[in-house]
């Protein structure tokens, strides 16, 4: 099962490791992303999860939606906890205390847990070189607590702590570039993915698990509640954000950039922005500014891919 996209969906793992019955909002693309990530990783996986939407919806005592071993500790430390699981298992297997086995150690967090409060811990874990994968589910705000801005909230988006008003456009800074920050740690694998492109997502996660050393996968996870879109349009908006190049899909293997998906026809950013409640206050001129920024950033990535 090297390339899902080349072969067929029938090759995808049939077992569910993130089960139905969890309490996610309808249309939650993050829950879908978790499901796909786990299908790619398989049952020999241990997940450390940050506090956030996914922890709350999947683990209310005495129930759980996880069919793989799962641990939640706090908001900022899933990277450190996963690195602890990896270190513990590594030592015990080396010392013959438990049988040797290939296990995927995975840290998972939302954009707030990753890019804000857990930034230092993630940096530490990546720098230490643990054989683990960190998956960031980016829905561009602190959705669990009521749609407050994070450092992954894009310019112009209105949230409850970056509200658009007479004197404000909403979020007034650009999104923090987490994949590039991860690349700066000289780790072997970094990728962006989106749950609207499931085969691409699964391939990247699979690759991340096969490469030795730390891997970072940044997954765009559309949030209908926070983006103020109809629940049935989460997948559509995932495709729009990628096809408008606002969130390009690429991977970085040992520092070498390559595009994994190039839209046949690049859509105008306005296509992606229209219909989203968080952007409804934007003027055509502001949308034009977003378009310029998007084009500039996309070209930078393309150039990095050409340079290899």
């Amino acid at each position: 099962m090297e390339k899902f996209s080349v072969f067929s969906s029938r090759l995808v793992e049939k077992a569910e490791f993130f089960t139905s019955g969890h309490r996610a909002c309808q249309g939650c693309a993050e829950a879908l992303a978790v499901r796909h990530v786990l299908k790619a990783l398989g049952r020999d996986t241990i997940v450390a999860m940050s506090t956030g939407c996914m922890e709350i919806i999947s683990s209310p005592l005495p129930t759980t939606a996880w069919k793989v071993p799962w641990i939640h500790v706090a908001f900022e430390n899933s990277s450190a906890v996963a690195s602890g699981c990896e270190s513990g298992m590594k030592a015990m297997m080396r010392k013959g205390k438990i049988p040797k086995k290939k296990i995927n150690f995975v840290g998972m967090g939302g954009d707030g847990a990753t890019a804000d409060i857990g930034m230092g811990q993630l940096s530490g874990a990546l720098e230490r070189g643990h054989d683990m994968i960190y998956v960031c589910y980016d829905n561009e705000a602190y959705m669990n607590t009521g749609i407050q801005r994070s450092s992954e909230t894009p310019w112009g988006a209105s949230t409850t702590t970056s509200p658009a008003g007479r004197k404000s456009i909403g979020q007034h800074t650009q999104k923090k570039d987490m994949p590039k920050i991860a690349v700066a740690h000289h780790i072997p694998y970094v990728a962006t993915a989106c749950s609207s492109f499931p085969f691409d997502l699964m391939e990247k996660v699979k690759k991340a698990s096969e490469i030795e050393g730390p891997a970072y996968v940044h997954v765009m996870s559309v949030c209908p509640t926070g983006w103020r879109i109809p629940t049935e349009e989460a997948i559509k908006y995932g495709r729009l954000i990628v096809d408008s190049c606002v969130f390009p899909l690429f991977e970085v293997v040992n520092g070498k950039y390559s595009m994994t998906y190039k839209p046949e026809k690049i859509l105008p950013v306005a296509e992606y922005i229209k219909g989203q409640g968080r952007f409804r206050h934007l003027t055509p001129q502001m949308i034009e500014e977003i378009q310029e920024h998007t084009t500039r950033e996309y070209e930078k990535i393309l150039k990095m891919c050409e340079e290899g």
Partner: protein
Amino acid sequence: MAKERKGIEVSLAISEAVCQADVDVVSAYPITPQTHIVEHLSELVADGHLDAEFVPVESEHSAMSVCVGSSAVGARSFTSTSSQGLALMAEIFFITSSLRLPVVMALANRSLSGPLSIWNDHTDTMMVRDAGWIHVFVDNGQEAYDHIFWAFRVAEDKGVRLPVAVNLDGFIMTHMIEPIDFEDTELIKKYLPPHRMEGALHPDNPLSMGCFAMPEMYTETQAARDHALLNSYPVCLKAWDEWAALTGRKYLPIETYRTEDAEYCIVTMGSFGETAMNAIDELRAEGEKVGGIRIRLWRPFPFDDFFRAAAGKKYLIVLDRAISFGGPGGPVALEVRNALYKKTKAPTVVDYVAGLAGRDVAVNDFKKIILEGKAKAEKGKTKGYTLYGLRSS
């Protein structure tokens, strides 16, 4: 390592004990005065004496997080910290006990900022008194060495499964060179069998750890946590008894010195205990009927042992090394007063605070505190607390 007595810095003796305990993971961040413990552990790993993963994290918050992760998969895990480091890891310190993970930590007690001070008092550990950990205070290097094994033994007991903090006074103990009896590693193996944790995270037996609780579940989880801590008491005793049977060194949750015919006692915790004994000897020679009570086990608090030690005494002069700001006094005195409340013929409690952030408390100071405290008790002046040696402007 074979059985031998050698002069060694207490921090290094602790690292040697951790090595003999055959831990799987050590994760730590340097902070004075804990540093020598983890420095020596990293040397032991680097030289191949200890087969463990040494995880040099970027903060104490991660040190405890790594230990939570490694302990959750069933690995024997150790860390060490102090002061601001403990404050930074406090969040996870609470979660370690809620997840019932048998992590052992050497806690080199030090004051908290501000003003910044690197020296010893008990302010840091008092901050996490109510975190659900087992807390033991050691009084000298030998006790520090011995209690590393005791801590793992108690923490990993199936009926306990709780983290243990071995508190030792920063610098006063961590940086002292003392003669210490090292035990044979074979004896340690007998006392501390390999760690096998039921319900560890493993793909062969998937389970969820650290779930979220609605209000109708949370209270029950806290009750279970408290019961676990209270129920660890007999295991603590048994672990001390077995250590005594193997080594001849006997420890108790509350220890007493010349208390049998004492009319009043000084109550201490940590390294104050040994200096107090000298003061007691000198005062005894002067005709004072004074004794000493040392609290070794701080959590779970050994109420009955304490009542036995304090029975029939007229006064207890409690010497604290921390202040509960805006409250009635030092934390140990608070605890002692509360324990004695409604006891018939309860001794009068006089509360002194001394030795904050490394200020020296010598034998003469103890004598002054004891005599002053006695005079206060006799006059009924027991309100609030006295900050010993406070300079006026």
